[in-house]
Amino acid sequence: MGSGTERISQIETLHREYAGVIYDLCLRILRDRIAAEDAVQETFLSAFRAMDSFTYGDSHLPWLYRIGTNVCLKMLRTASRKGAVPDEHIEKYGSLKPDPARAMHARRVLEQLSRQLDDRSMQILLAHFGGGMSQEEVAQSLGISRRAVVKRLTRLRAIAQELEDADHE
């Protein structure tokens, strides 16, 4: 691992390359433009702190997606505890067919779930619906079997459908 300056330069390069698509991920989960920008910043700060654990040869993109998903999960939990995000901040951005009411509903559902579900279930849900990963890609990203992903998503089928509808109807 390089010096502090080299590490900062590496993260800035990653930020220039990938921040836009990490923003896409965060926006789709948080449905709030300002919170998504904060989440992107926090993702790259967390990546900076975790650079020692990054295995070279791995692709940076899934690694950053994993970190971004965890950052968003943390923010959802914080918001659900504090009731911090006013409705008017929740926007249409990030959805294919903008519908502020549905976006707001999806956000509220995720906040509520973040209080009730364990970390792994939330990571799967957010990677699948926020990150738009296939079941196989979620399994690879989290280092678990596809069967485990399918099992959890099946258990959360009704919720999953609701989130899907919020994005595509």
């Binding site: 900062i8 800035e12 390359e17 921040a19 836009g20 698509v21 923003y23 920008e37 943390k74 296939s134």
Partner: protein, 245 residues
């Protein structure tokens, strides 16, 4: 999108040119034929462009935050060095370690009663003192001493004022969910922690379990917030403090 469509994440990889050549050809020809996927790709590009429109400001903000970080990185290194030095001693004590391993299985069988106490020691300049008034300064180096009545498995979380959760022990770089404390008495945890320079309220949550178990950080937080019991009489101790320059 149909089942034959690439996932959104695959389209992101395609957009960032992080796909193999055969994948690239396949996705490109799919995009020509599919009525739905070009819209998804456009949506990804639009969101990316929205963030990149403010890029100079984002870069500046990130740079400022990164420049505040090296102190923490240095601390992690300090922990690593300390652990490396201890590792040599640990090798010499391998025989004793094997004995302890046999004892670990018995931990669950012993009565897990008694107190869990946490002492926070602060080094500030040349002085060392105990945190008793809940006030710390940003450049303080903190060390933690855990006193327990029985062996157990430890996790220490630091919650900042914004609700951010950081696992202090076990060191995330070492992997694992728990740090094993091999007997009753005082345990000085390795390394020291220096907090960010920002003014903030912090809570230190110390959880001690009698056996290794799956326990989310959120469950520990919930238990600390609401007083709900954790499985297997897992104990929690909370230390609150504020940093201000």
């Amino acid at each position: 999108m149909s089942d034959n469509c690439p996932s959104r994440f695959t389209l992101v990889r395609f957009h960032k040119d992080r796909v193999t050549d055969p994948e690239k050809k396949q996705i490109a020809s799919h995009l020509l034929a599919c009525p739905a996927c070009p819209a998804v790709l456009r949506n990804i590009c639009d969101n990316e462009a929205a963030y990149e429109a403010g890029m100079p400001g984002h870069n500046e903000r990130l740079r400022a935050a990164l420049e505040r970080e090296p102190a923490r990185v240095g601390i992690r290194r300090h922990v690593a060095i300390t652990i490396s030095a201890l590792a040599a001693v640990a090798l010499l004590a391998l025989g004793a370690g094997l004995y302890r391993w046999t004892q670990r299985n018995d931990v669950a069988d012993v009565a897990f009663k008694g107190n869990l106490a946490v002492k926070v020691t602060i080094r500030r300049g040349d002085g060392v003192f105990e945190l008793t008034d809940g006030k710390a300064a940003p450049s303080d180096a903190m060390r933690f001493t855990i006193t327990t009545a029985a062996p157990g498995y430890l996790r220490v979380l630091l919650i900042d004022g914004a609700g951010g959760v950081m696992v202090l022990y076990p060191d995330p770089a070492d992997g694992g969910d728990w740090l094993f404390l091999d007997g009753p008495g005082e345990h000085l945890l390795p390394g020291s922690i220096v907090l960010d320079s920002a003014r903030s309220d912090y809570r230190l949550l110390v959880a001690l379990a009698k056996r290794e178990q799956h326990l989310d950080n959120s469950a520990i937080l919930r238990a600390a917030d609401t007083g709900t019991a954790l499985p297997d009489d897992t104990m929690i101790e909370v230390v609150s403090f504020t940093t201000s320059p």
